[in-house]
């Protein structure tokens, strides 16, 4: 069999080139894999959901109550909930999406804090950033599809943010979502559906392929222990066959945890929100990974508006697009700040680069402040403290981190001195 295939497809070459790829064994090196497995679970469950979902805003008698007219998209979600494993598929899909975003953020943190984005891996950092952005866009289009009142409100806000772009926003929003936002806009849900199941997954798969091929070409950075075992040699287990069972175990463990979550914790219960309507949803919040943008939108004051060359620039554009874009640009620019000429082989110990470590922690602190600002409205907090915290929290985190790292360093140095003295005394 192998011989037969080899004669025709030359698989031994594939084997040498790809399947023997060495994977370093270290627990932080599995975060990217978890992201990939979540994507696979999302594609599989997504196919089954697409088979029963009806992307339409047309009013039909509700699946549960034939006297009530609801959008067909909403009714089809109610029907999916009543299919065998239907609700379960929805929950697994939703939880996997959350896991995919979480795992990719953790994966990115690992790359950042260990300096793995340095030359020659800058391109993969940028592709990874694009993957994160598109993952989040895919997630938002996904939770807009049930067209319950929560989804409708989310969509309204997204359309509003797109429409707030000066000069072209109105055209852009109408082109992207098929006309003005309205409950009965017949184009809107089919458009979002098209993006969610075709355009965005295609982009995600393409970028994932590029991400992996570049990773294989450039090889992983090696964990620090590899330096001690065999300097400048690649230490790890080959994909075929040693890494495969490890990855499979991880995939099954992950799937198991997701299924447990899905079993016991319902997500996005559409019946609670009811079908799309003109009524408000109390205490509406986006998913956790967008809470920071939500917080910025709450913080930008009404007075932040001006006209530039005939285009209206208002608080919704500044809060929803400008600051978020600047934040992402800072993340994209990370490899540019690095000046090293040498190729990086070994993942660095974060405490050896205290400024980078402290900068990263300050950055996440800032995002956390903005996320908390998302709850400003619920508690009627004034806005001023959040401006102060946006400056103070990152600064404090930065200097505290540097101080802690210095402390660790001096302990380590003292330790080494003691050891040396001890060794000298033994002699």
């Amino acid at each position: 069999m192998n011989q037969w295939l080899d004669d025709r497809l030359n698989i031994s070459r594939l084997n040498d080139k790809f399947l023997r790829k060495a994977f370093p064994v270290h627990h932080t090196y599995f975060l990217g894999e978890i992201t990939l497995f979540s994507l696979i679970v999302l594609l599989l469950t997504g196919v089954f959901l697409a088979l029963s979902y009806e992307p339409s805003t047309r009013l039909v008698p509700s699946f549960l109550d034939k006297t009530q007219m609801v959008p067909a998209a909403y009714s089809s979600i109610l029907r999916i909930n009543f299919m065998p494993f239907g609700d379960m598929l929805r929950r697994i899909h939703h939880w996997s999406a959350n896991l995919m975003v979480a795992a990719s953020i953790l994966h990115m943190m690992r790359i950042y804090f260990t300096g793995s984005f340095k030359k020659p891996r800058e391109i993969n950092w940028w592709i990874g950033m694009l993957l994160l952005v598109f993952t989040i866009i895919t997630a938002v289009t996904g939770y807009s599809l049930p067209y319950d009142n929560f989804a409708k409100t989310t969509l309204g806000v997204v359309v509003g943010i797109v429409a707030s772009v000066p000069w072209v926003g109105d055209w852009l929003a109408q082109a992207a979502f098929g006309g003005k936002f309205a409950l009965d806009n017949a184009f809107m849900i089919p458009r979002v559906y098209g993006y969610h199941i075709m355009l965005l997954p295609a982009i995600l798969l393409g970028l994932t392929g590029a991400h992996l091929l570049i990773m294989i070409k450039q090889k992983h950075t090696q964990p620090q222990y590899a330096k001690r075992i065999a300097y400048k040699k690649i230490v790890g287990v080959p994909l075929s066959t040693q890494q495969t069972p490890i990855a499979l175990m991880l995939a099954f463990l992950m799937a198991g945890i997701v299924i447990l979550f899905a079993t016991f914790i319902p997500v996005h219960p559409v019946e609670v929100f009811g079908p799309a309507s003109d009524n408000p949803v109390a205490n509406i919040k986006p998913d956790w990974y967008l809470l920071w943008i939500f917080g910025i939108l709450e913080m930008i004051p009404a007075s932040a508006k001006f006209t530039l060359f005939g285009g209206e620039i208002g608080p919704e554009f500044i809060g929803g697009i400008v600051i978020a874009t600047l934040t992402l640009l800072v993340m994209l620019a990370v490899p540019i700040f690095d000046q090293s000429k040498e190729n990086l082989y070994y993942s660095e110990n974060p405490t050896d680069h205290p400024k980078r470590l402290a900068g990263g922690i300050a950055f996440f602190g800032l995002l956390l402040v903005w996320s908390v600002a998302g709850y400003k409205n619920d508690f009627q907090w004034p806005v001023m403290p959040f401006y102060v915290l946006s400056v103070v929290v990152p600064l404090v985190l930065y200097f505290v981190t540097i101080a802690i790292v210095r402390g660790i360093k001096s302990f380590r140095a003292a330790d080494e001195r003691d050891m040396a003295q001890g060794a000298a005394a033994d002699d």
Binding site: G160, N283, E316, N377
Partner: protein
């Protein structure tokens, strides 16, 4: 010495291919542009999406009330009623509930509580009417007390915390909305709340040009 001198062709192979490919890409990009230009559907202004107009009677937004005109007895201080304008469009009676901006808040305040910049001529018996759609990103606002700004009855947006003071022309009291809620002038006629015109300021999700042209159409009718 070769017998045949190699003559330079007028057009090298490379140049020909580059020009041919360039033309193909150019034409392709142009056709793609025309397709992208076509994805925005034409605006269709159905009767129920028209602006409120003079003479429109405000009817309950609550579907259970079946479009009955709002009763004056229901409009009390400290308690608002949500409504849609109902009026003649092309000879037929239409409840204009096709867009969120047409959902209106009917609020009543005690004598002398409503102050400028509210259009006082557009209020009657302490009743003032605003669009329910937040000017920030278009969510429907809720009416509740907002003690931190000393407002007994404020329009509060659940999305990003826009707060409007309904006694002062729905001025923005807190949060990000770039403009006040759009007011509708009303009069109480024969126990019904009747609109005396369309929105006094630009409501949500409509450009100035569209607003002007739709207003002109209303005046013609």
């Amino acid at each position: 010495m070769t017998r045949y001198m190699r003559q330079d062709p007028e057009l090298t192979r490379r140049k020909f291919i580059n020009v041919a490919m360039g033309t193909t890409v150019g034409v392709g990009a142009l056709s793609l542009l025309s397709i992208v230009g076509g994805v925005k559907p034409a605006d269709t202004l159905t009767p129920e999406k028209r602006l409120p107009a003079k003479g429109d009677v405000l009817v309950y937004a609550d579907a259970a009330k079946n479009g009955a005109p709002v009763a004056l007895a229901d409009i009390k201080e400290g308690q608002v009623v949500y409504a849609f304008p109902k009026g003649k469009v092309g000879g037929a009676d239409v409840v204009k509930n096709g867009l969120a901006r047409n959902q209106l808040i009917i609020a009543k305040f005690a004598e002398g509580q409503i102050k400028a910049p509210t259009d006082l001529a557009g209020t009657d018996q302490g009743i003032v009417v605003y669009s329910r759609q937040c000017m920030h990103l278009g969510c429907a606002v809720e009416v509740k007390a907002y003690p931190s700004k000393n407002l007994q009855e404020a329009a509060v947006c659940p999305c990003h915390g826009g707060v409007y003071d309904m006694t002062q022309g729905a001025r923005v009291a807190d949060g990000p909305p770039p403009a006040p809620l759009a007011q509708i002038p009303i009069k109480v006629i024969g126990g019904q709340v009747v609109a005396q015109g369309t929105f006094l300021s630009l409501p949500y999700d409509i450009t100035e040009a569209e607003f002007a042209s739709q207003k002109k159409e209303l005046e013609k009718a």
